[in-house]
């Protein structure tokens, strides 16, 4: 069967699964089994479709639509194939996981959960394959709505609040995307993406379309500063849905940015400054995302903030690709886009894995609060090991998958710095530094996340009584953990495929990314080989274990308790999440102050709409209030900013001098 027919079959199955789930909603267990089994089958079909679509030429098909102005056409090209693969693998894991996990959700109406989840997955698949702006927007909206219902499933105050904020933010983004598409449609005289592709827009119009689409999709992707809904909405959904949202749905934001920039506006050509803007947003998102994640003690909120971080890393890759593309540097563009797409795939796998791990914790300890966990690796060994693999992968530890895509991102930055002018060099250097800080902070954050939950001693009765999760949940986690290892160690196989997807967007220009089993950067004569590295690492660790066993003569002994300098140790003395947060806040106080301001701003937008509902009854000069408030806070913040500039710290002054130096040098070089 061709990829297209597999995909259509999968969509039909999803629709059938959703309907059946609704019909059988009276008996929760039946409804759950039907939706999970039908959903998993559909996901298997579509993942096969996606994998095929990545390596074969694009296929398209058109149906007679209900609307004469918008043909319902479908295009399955390598990029949409990648997205279909990502979404389907996650969907498969989520459905299998759900067989056991949804038992905890029976009282919330499993029929509607099954229905909305099927519709959610189907609409995500449709968004990435439709080839018409009108239908794209329809399915994009459907995706937001169905996921909204999944976020508010528990119907408590936190989830409704998070869901509402999510809905508002999704629509702000939606409007921007819509305007961007309408501008292009009015120029092209058609809603068909194929007509958009032939457009030769003038630079200002193309830039307007791009920036609107970038910001609009940025809301969906959860990039800074439009991220605040993410840590509120994702944790509220059932964990396997969070995995789908964090691993899959926010990638549609990235998909949109890539599609608009390289595909739809391809004929108009990109601008260098687009790339620089994207890199800047990416760098800020990556650093701040992980900094804020560190302060969390709710495991799902922590993971949600890490999605912001990883979106930032992907955006850095996209931005470098844009720069390389606009400057006519095919190697930079090829490696940058390939790195971004590879990281997109990787992040889906390890974030999906970690969210499922968080779901297992929730299932066993009945809480998302890491403060009350501890010592769980003894009772939940499989979950612990899978979570450890996910933690190592997301921390970009070689030879796992996160490292491979970050390595390529660094290489793309390096090549851009080699080939570009002074401004590009500065941007690339800054982005590389941001990536380095991000990497080290991610290590910190995941030592914390694993350490305080799985290591140490239980901090509560619930943690003491925890049990390993049932088979289907373990299966899903093991599946994703194996994929994380494969995408890292098997990079010589995967990288050329990702390069193929990237080259399909860059008018077919190819760059060699492998040589034998090594991954190479042809621009900088650099290489790395994760498969051989893994072998050598196993050998050296094995050698060390053998050495210790061989030379040890004293035997081993297990003692009752650790040494606490003569004090009687108890569980309250071991590390808690807040111990980490306190230390990080010590070094980055300003960044945390900024988070509070950002969240407050976002909540203000949310409560504006919340308030608007009530205001229908009582007339209150809300606009005035917010206008006045924002003016006052603007003045306040300028005052605050000037106070900081005059900080009186000698290091700050040195920094200003260096910054001024760099600025003038750039100015001179540009003239």
């Amino acid at each position: 069967m061709s990829a297209m027919s597999l995909l259509l079959a999968s969509l039909v199955l999803s629709a059938a699964g959703g309907t059946l789930a609704l019909l059988t909603r009276r008996t929760g267990t039946v409804s759950k089994s039907i939706s999970c089994i039908v959903g998993a089958t559909a996901a298997l079909l579509s993942s096969a479709a996606g994998i095929i679509a990545m390596v074969v030429p694009s296929q398209s098909i058109s149906f007679a639509g209900a609307f004469p102005f918008a043909a319902f056409s479908i295009l399955l090209d390598p990029l949409s194939g990648l997205l279909v693969t990502v979404i389907s693998i996650l969907a498969f894991a989520a459905w299998v996981y759900g067989i056991s996990y949804f038992d905890d959700y029976l009282q919330f109406g499993i029929g509607s959960i099954g229905f909305f989840m099927n519709m959610f997955i189907a609409s995500m698949l449709l968004v990435v394959i439709v080839d018409n702006a009108f239908w794209f927007l329809v399915f994009f909206e459907m995706m937001s709505l169905t996921s909204f219902f999944l976020v508010i499933v528990e119907q408590d105050e936190a989830s409704i609040r998070g869901g509402f904020l999510y809905l508002v933010m999704a629509h702000i983004g939606f409007i921007m995307i819509m305007i961007s598409f309408f501008i292009m449609a009015s120029m092209a005289g058609s809603f068909d993406f194929s007509a958009f592709r032939d457009l030769h827009l003038s630079a200002p119009v193309a830039s307007l379309c791009f920036i609107l689409a970038f910001l609009g999709f940025g809301f969906k992707a959860g990039m800074m500063p439009f991220h605040s809904w993410l840590p509120l909405a994702h944790p509220a959904a059932p964990s396997n849905v969070s995995a789908l949202m964090s691993g899959g749905m926010i990638k549609i934001g990235i998909f949109g940015i890539v599609k608009v920039a390289f595909d739809l506006l391809g004929a108009s050509g990109g601008q260098v400054w687009w790339g620089i803007v994207v890199i800047a947003f990416g760098a800020v998102s990556s650093v701040l995302g992980v900094v804020y994640a560190l302060a969390e003690h709710d495991v799902k909120r922590l993971l949600a903030y890490h999605s912001v971080e990883n979106i930032g890393i992907i955006l850095i890759g996209v931005g470098v690709a844009l720069v390389g593309w606009a400057l006519g540097l095919p190697v930079v563009a090829g490696i940058g886009l390939m790195a971004a797409l590879y990281h997109l795939l990787n992040h889906a796998m390890f974030k999906g894995l970690l969210f499922l791990g968080a779901g297992s914790l929730l299932h066993s300890v009945h809480s998302r609060n890491m403060e009350i966990m501890g010592g769980l690796s003894k009772v939940m060994p499989v979950t612990a090991l899978c979570f450890l693999i996910g933690a190592l992968a997301i921390s970009a530890i070689p030879p796992l998958n996160g490292f491979v895509s970050e390595w390529f991102t660094y290489q793309a930055l390096f090549d851009a710095a080699m080939g570009g002018g002074v401004l590009i060099k500065v941007v690339a250097g800054a982005a590389a530094v941001a990536l380095a800080i991000t990497g080290a902070l991610a290590v910190t954050c995941f030592v914390k996340a694993y350490g305080v939950t799985f290591s140490g001693v239980p901090h509560s009765e619930a943690a003491r009584n925890a049990k390993e999760v049932p088979g289907p949940m373990r299966f899903s986690m093991i599946l994703l953990a194996v994929l994380c290892i494969f995408l890292g160690v098997g990079a010589p196989v995967v990288a050329p495929v990702m390069q193929g997807v990237a080259s399909s967007l860059l008018s077919g220009s190819t760059v060699a990314v492998t040589s034998g089993t090594a991954l190479v950067n042809v621009g900088g004569t650099s290489m790395v080989d994760t498969s051989l590295m893994a072998l050598i690492l196993l050998a050296t660790i094995g050698f060390s274990i053998g050495l210790r066993a061989l030379l040890a003569k004293g035997g081993t002994k297990v003692c009752d308790r650790a040494w606490a300098c003569g004090y009687e140790p108890d569980s309250s003395m071991t590390m808690a999440p807040s111990s980490f947060a306190a230390s990080v806040k010590l070094f980055f106080p300003r960044l945390y102050r900024m988070r509070d301001q950002l969240t407050a701003a976002c909540l203000r937008v949310g409560s504006f709409f919340f308030g608007a509902i009530g205001t229908a009854r009582k007339v209150e000069p809300i606009g005035d209030k917010y206008l006045v408030d924002s003016t006052i806070s603007l003045v306040d913040s300028i005052g605050e900013a000037t106070r900081r500039v005059e900080g009186g710290d000698s290091r700050v002054y040195i920094l200003y001098i260096v910054a001024a130096l760099v600025f003038f040098l750039v100015l001179v070089a540009l003239m």
């Binding site: 800080i437 080290a440 910190t444 694993y450 050296t540 060390s544 004293g554 140790p569 071991t574 590390m575």
Partner: protein, 309 residues
């Protein structure tokens, strides 16, 4: 084939000389205190004695605790195979990329810190957090100088950078010298010596994550930590001072390179020991001032590179 032998030779060399250099540092310390001090081979005697002791662990600790020392040592052996020490080029080129090296250093750090939490000892946990935050603060200062050197030499491979410097195709510039200074300072922080012995801080934290280790595991961990010091110093020497390293393969050149390498290590460790013993510990919360200053030097080298100085 020769490259593989050289790589294994480098790994074993680092393993075998690591206790010697920590012994020399101890000896210099004693001399500066006007003490007789132990023999420079004292660390080997200590390790041999630890091997005969019991390996004790607390019942609350998990497999992480047992696994950490071999993972630490295994990572060090792996890194030692990749960096240019005796030769200008990397013995195994795919291990010698600057990004790979910096990220490989995160692997032992991850387990080292995790093991500290795993032991459930309160001081060990505090040491873990410090270890991680030192990593956060120093990583940009490790990366940027190497990035600048890479841009000057045209490759992110440490071997290619070293070859370019040693052969003179890249003349020493102000940017390169500043990058070298910044990288040396960043490596020094990574060594975990005074004034930056944050994680193990003997007086404050009772050895931090090492606290709960004993017997053979402690011996392995101590060796691995000394190996890390040798590797950081070798990395600096190999990339920024590649003079005397072997350019073409021959036994004579190899022997000469070995002597030059050991001399370089001796001088650099001597300098480190003198610094270590003439300062007092930096307050933990002031560490960021030092690391940002180092980063500032790295930024300056980047700026000088941009204007071509």
């Amino acid at each position: 084939m020769n490259q593989i032998i050289l790589a294994i030779f480098q790994a074993l060399l680092v393993l075998l000389v690591a206790p010697l250099f920590s012994g020399i540092a101890r000896s210099i310390r004693a001399k500066m205190h006007s003490r007789q001090g132990p023999s420079i081979f004292q660390d080997y005697y200590d390790l041999a004695k630890l091997m005969t002791r019991q390996d004790v662990r607390s019942k609350d600790s998990s497999y992480i605790n047992r696994l950490m020392p071999p993972v630490y040592m295994g990572s060090m052996l792996l890194i030692a195979m990749g960096i240019p020490m005796l030769t200008q080029a990397c013995p195994i080129p795919f291990l010698g990329d600057i990004v790979t090296i910096i990220y490989l250093l995160a692997l032992p750090r991850f387990f080292f810190a995790l093991a500290g939490i795993d032991t459930t000892a309160p001081y060990a946990g505090v040491g873990s957090i410090r270890e991680l935050l030192v990593g956060v603060l120093i990583e940009p200062a490790l990366l940027l100088p190497l990035f600048v050197a890479g841009l000057i030499a045209g490759s992110t491979n440490t071997g290619a950078i070293a070859t370019a410097l040693a052969s003179g195709t890249v003349p020493p510039s102000l940017a390169l010298i500043l990058a070298g200074i910044a990288f040396a300072a960043a490596c020094y922080v990574e060594l975990g010596k005074l004034p930056y012995d944050m994680a193990e801080a003997e007086q404050e934290l009772q050895e931090g994550p090492l606290q709960e280790y004993s017997g053979p595991s402690l011996a392995m961990l101590k060796t691995a930590l000394s190996m890390k010091q040798v590797i950081m110093v070798s990395l600096f020497a190999g990339v920024f001072l590649p003079f005397g390293s072997m350019a073409t393969a021959s036994i004579g050149a190899l022997l000469l390179a070995l002597v030059v390498y050991l001399l370089k290590l001796l001088v650099l460790f001597g300098v480190c020991a003198i610094i270590e013993n003439s300062v007092s510990r930096v307050r933990y919360r002031l560490l960021s001032k030092h690391t940002w200053t180092i980063f500032g030097i790295a930024v300056m080298s980047f700026a000088f590179f941009l204007i071509g100085l």
